[in-house]
Structures are given as structure tokens and as C-alpha cells.
């Protein structure tokens, strides 16, 4: 070993210089963390979810703190793909890292159009498809809870893009394995999970929900055990690579996901608590490898022992 462990991992067709990425919605459009994080040091950055048209998002309050976590109901506020491609993407194009665009639609057709909109667009390394949004066609039912709809969306996106497709799963389902297999069979290159857990908090002083939207998505360390379990289940039910997300605060948390078999990880809420979290995780993984005589981070991935 030459003293510099190899942290590179492959996510299907994507090559990452290390397994650490940012999670969608927690890292803006890439430049907000400039004073703290050089994106070129990361395995990739996943941008805030984009829809066809700009969206204002939910009424306020949109966030609430909970024990060891936070709820958000941002309502997928975003600038829309047009403004993104025109104004934000040019600043990101030169970056020597994987810039991953997270997309979501209100209908299956939306997803198809989104895929087409990014076809041939340079500077976008992959699409992450967020299927954890309410389906307007189906009366607000969440797309990603239905394996058939999830498969359909995956198929449409895969068919209409020239980029690797990462499908991001919602954890609020009875059996994550069914969803994982459904999107694998429909052509996804990579699976990422988990999105947030559905949750709620009440302001007892005013007998009101703490979020204007009533319910929201729970993220942060509180959800780590649930995330890890679902990641482990997904890893064991599909052949495509899995990205682990959920409550990762430091390199030790990242290691749990890698050992469980995640090929890469995304850091979300931790960016708010410690803006340098991603960089510290990379450093931590490097030191861990050095101290344990590991030349290649891939040797850790999936190394979970069972009796």
C-alpha cells in the first residue's frame, strides 16, 4: 500500500472519486456551500429536485426540529428546469465531479418530459429520479409506493435519456425489496434510498401542526437504523449498485452503510449541522482505511459478517 488508499467506486456507468455525495435538497444547486466544500473533492453532488415548471413550494412553516432529526415539507420548491439549465448549470459544467440532477414530476408524462429535457445536456452526469412525490393523476397517492407505477416511471425515463438513471426510493412501504426489484427490472442503473420517513409534529401551545403542510419528511440521525435496514434489504435483493442515504453524520455512519453493501452514500441533514460534513467523512474514510490496512474501499463494501 502506497499510503493513499483507493477510494474510487463505480456506480454502474458512473465513476466516483470517492463514495461520498450530497443528498438532494440539502445542498441547493451546488454553490451554496462554496465557503465550506469544494465540490470537486466529492464523489458527486446531487442537486435540489427539479420539476418541469418552477414551483413556489409549501406555505410556511416548512421545517420543525424533532428528537435527533428534523421534519421538512419544503414542497419541492424549485426554479424549474428551464432556469436551471440556463442559469445554474453553466456554473456547474466545468466542475470535475459528478453533477447529478434530481427530477420529479406530477404525472408519468412529466417524468418522460424531464428525461427528454436533459437528453444530450452536457455537464449532467446522471439523473436521480425522485418517485416519492404525490401523484396528481392518482389523487395524491405517492408514485413510489406502487411498484407498477415506479416501474413505469423508470421505464419512461430510461427510454428517454442518454444518462445513467438512479431511482430514489421512498421508505414508507411495506416491502422495499419489491420496489427495488421493480425498478431494477425496468432498467434503473442504480438505486438510492432512503428518502424521508413520513412524520408529523404538533405545537402543543397552539394545538396546530408544526408544519403548515401538516405532515412532512423525517430526516437526520433518528432515521439511520431504518435507512440502514432498508439499504441492506435492497442490496440483498438487486444486482445493481445501491446508494445509502439516511442520517449519515460522520464517517462511522458512512461505514455502516458501506459495510451493509451500499456502493456509495449521500449526506443530507448533516450538511445543515456541520457544513463541512462531507469533506470530514472523506477524510475519516481515508484515515480508517490507512489505519486498518485497507488499500481499496471496495474491500469494505458489503463486508458484513453474519453467522
Amino acid at each position: 500500500m502506497n499510503g493513499n488508499p483507493d477510494l474510487r467506486v463505480k456506480l454502474g456507468p458512473l465513476e466516483l472519486k470517492n463514495p461520498v455525495m450530497t443528498a438532494s435538497g440539502t445542498f441547493g444547486y451546488g454553490h451554496e456551500f462554496e465557503p465550506f466544500v469544494d465540490p470537486e473533492l466529492l464523489g458527486g453532488i446531487v442537486l435540489k429536485g427539479l420539476s418541469l415548471k418552477p414551483m413556489a413550494g409549501n406555505p410556511i412553516p416548512r421545517i420543525a426540529e424533532t428528537p435527533g432529526g428534523m421534519l421538512n415539507a419544503i414542497g419541492l420548491a424549485n426554479i424549474g428546469i428551464e432556469e436551471f439549465i440556463e442559469k445554474r448549470l453553466p456554473r456547474l459544467k466545468g466542475l470535475k465531479t459528478n453533477v447529478i440532477v434530481n427530477i420529479y414530476g406530477h404525472s408519468i408524462d412529466d417524468y418522460e418530459e424531464l428525461a427528454k429535457a436533459f437528453r444530450g445536456v452536457e455537464g449532467v452526469a446522471a439523473l436521480e429520479v425522485n418517485i416519492s412525490c404525490p401523484n396528481v393523476e392518482m389523487g395524491g397517492m405517492i408514485f413510489g409506493k406502487d411498484p407498477a407505477v415506479s416501474a413505469k416511471i423508470t421505464e419512461k425515463v430510461v427510454k428517454n435519456t442518454d444518462k445513467p438513471v438512479i431511482v430514489k426510493l421512498t421508505p414508507n412501504v411495506t416491502d422495499i425489496r419489491v420496489l427495488a426489484r421493480a425498478v431494477e427490472e425496468s432498467g434503473a442503473s442504480v438505486i438510492s434510498l432512503i428518502n424521508t420517513l413520513a412524520g408529523m409534529a404538533i405545537d402543543i401551545e397552539h394545538q396546530r401542526p408544526k408544519l403548515a403542510n401538516v405532515s412532512g419528511g423525517l430526516s437526520g440521525p433518528a432515521i439511520k437504523p431504518v435507512a440502514l435496514y432498508q439499504v441492506w434489504q435492497a442490496v440483498n435483493s438487486v444486482k445493481i449498485p445501491v446508494i445509502g442515504i439516511g442520517g449519515i453524520m460522520d464517517y462511522r455512519d458512512a461505514l455502516e452503510f458501506l459495510i451493509a453493501g451500499a456502493r456509495a452514500i449521500q449526506v443530507g441533514t448533516a450538511n445543515f449541522v456541520n457544513p463541512g460534513a462531507t469533506i470530514e467523512i472523506i477524510e475519516g474514510l481515508k484515515t480508517y482505511c490507512l489505519e486498518n490496512g485497507i488499500d481499496d474501499i471496495n474491500d469494505i463494501i458489503g463486508s458484513l459478517k453474519k453467522d
Binding site: 410556511i60 420543525a64 420548491a77 437526520g220 440521525p221 450538511n271
Partner: protein, 265 residues
């Protein structure tokens, strides 16, 4: 703007439920302007998880940042237990502060309760110019002794809701009276306000009524403080009467009061 651990120089009680914390950061000190804030990580662990935003109350000796805070919940209670010598992770300075008034204008600073915190830094910055600083509190027992916190003389007029000290009534009443009595040319003053939303709404309507420029510093729940999470949205009214969201942490915390959609307050 950076995130680093700084040494707490003091953390003392000013009056019941109000504390003044000073930490050493030449970097933040040199970059700060009035109205900006910092995000403080109360504990290294997960309890509480999120950082807490605090306005910069004072910059002393070019290296010490002072925060004036009120204990209102779990995070601020824990903060009040910190001792000098401990280190605190602080990110800042953040946000867009007050636009300083034109040379010709007189600044009127209107604070409600702990809302005086960012106004003090503004008052200090404007100390060689004529300003009028007024603040409202519930009752005499709630008054934050500003001079004691600031360690210097600050001319300030007090209003108490119950009349137990100073002007009897809300600080907005005091403002109205002051304007009626002293201000004749409509564009000779600018208002700077910070306090509860209902108060800011009233200040804003007083300013609108008299066509006085008015900047307000808003509070909002925050997760990132960097414009990344969109948690701290505030509804803005555009000139063609459309509403859209801006972010308190990045586009604010200081806004022109006329830009804000006050309808839901």
C-alpha cells in the same frame, strides 16, 4: 464566512431570561455588518440537532462577537449553561444586513423585546450620527437593560405595554407619536425595526402610511442558514402584486418592509 470553533469569553445573565455571550473571532468580527447573524451549534451531539440563529449584537475590540439572547426553549437554555473557556462552533457572518441610511437621513430604530439585539449593532455603527432608538417591552420587569449589556451609554426610549415604565403602550404607539411630533419632511428619516411579527407589521403600515423607507429584520425557522434548504421561506409581494418566496437566511434577514406580504401575519 466560515464555520469554526471559537472560545467563549463570557456568557452572563443580563436580566431574568436574557444572556450576553461573547466569543473570540477576529474573522467574524472583521466581516460582520449590522443585521447579519450567525448560526450556533449548541452541542456537538444530536441534542439539539440543528444550529440556532442569533443576530450579532455587538463587535468589541475587533475580535469579540457578542450575542444577546433570550432563553425560550431547549437550545437557548443549554446555551445559557456554557462557561467561559468552552468552545463553540459558530458559522457566520450570514445573510444580508441593514442598508445603512443615507448621510442625510435620520435613522429611527424600533425594537420589540429581544429584537433590540441587531439594532444595537446598527446603533453602534451609526453612533456619530443622530439616531432615535426606541424599544417596547411588556412590563418594566421585562425591560432588557441595554446599557448594561452594551457596557456603554445608549440613548433609548422605552415603551411598556402596561405603562409600568416609560411610554404607556406599544412601541408602535411611541413611534407614531414620535413621527407626528418630530418629523415634518417626509423623506428625512428611515426606520429600522426588529421584533415580533405583529409589531413589524404595524411598523410597516405606519411607515407605508407616511411613505417612510423601512427595513425590518425577520426571524424564521432555519435549518441550513445558507440558502440551501428553503426552510426559511418568507412571502414577498412583487410590485405587480404577485407573491413569491424569498429566504430569510440569504435574501434577508433584513427586508424592505414594503416588499413583504403581511397579509397572513
Amino acid at each position: 464566512m466560515i464555520d469554526q470553533h471559537y472560545e467563549i469569553v463570557f456568557n452572563r445573565k443580563i436580566t431574568s431570561g436574557i444572556f450576553l455571550l461573547g466569543f473570540k473571532s477576529p474573522h467574524i468580527a472583521s466581516e460582520s455588518s449590522p443585521g447579519q447573524f450567525v448560526m450556533v451549534r449548541i452541542n456537538e451531539g444530536i441534542d439539539p440537532l440543528l444550529r440556532r440563529p442569533f443576530s450579532i449584537f455587538d463587535v468589541r475590540d475587533k475580535d469579540t462577537i457578542c450575542l444577546l439572547y433570550k432563553t425560550v426553549g431547549h437550545g437557548t437554555e443549554l446555551l445559557s449553561l456554557k462557561k467561559a473557556g468552552e468552545r463553540l462552533s459558530v458559522m457566520g457572518p450570514l445573510g444580508r444586513g441593514f442598508s445603512l441610511p443615507d448621510e442625510k437621513l435620520q435613522a429611527i430604530l424600533v425594537g420589540g423585546g429581544i429584537g433590540i439585539a441587531p439594532l444595537h449593532f446598527l446603533a453602534d455603527t451609526l453612533k456619530n450620527r443622530p439616531i432615535e432608538f426606541m424599544a417596547g417591552f411588556g412590563k418594566s420587569g421585562d425591560i432588557i437593560p441595554l446599557e448594561q449589556a452594551a457596557g456603554r451609554t445608549v440613548g433609548i426610549s422605552i415603551a411598556t405595554d402596561d405603562g409600568s415604565e416609560g411610554y404607556h403602550g406599544m412601541v408602535t404607539g411611541l413611534l407614531d407619536e414620535y413621527l407626528s411630533r418630530n418629523i415634518h419632511e417626509k423623506d428625512s428619516v428611515a426606520i429600522y425595526a426588529c421584533g415580533p411579527l405583529a409589531m413589524l407589521k404595524k411598523v410597516s403600515s405606519i411607515a407605508s402610511g407616511r411613505n417612510i423607507p423601512c427595513q425590518v429584520s425577520l426571524e424564521s425557522l432555519m435549518a441550513c442558514g445558507l440558502g440551501a434548504c428553503q426552510g426559511c421561506a418568507v412571502k414577498i409581494l412583487s410590485q405587480d402584486n404577485k407573491t413569491f418566496y424569498r429566504h430569510v437566511c440569504k435574501d434577508g434577514p433584513v427586508f424592505s418592509s414594503h416588499a413583504i406580504d403581511w397579509s397572513n401575519v
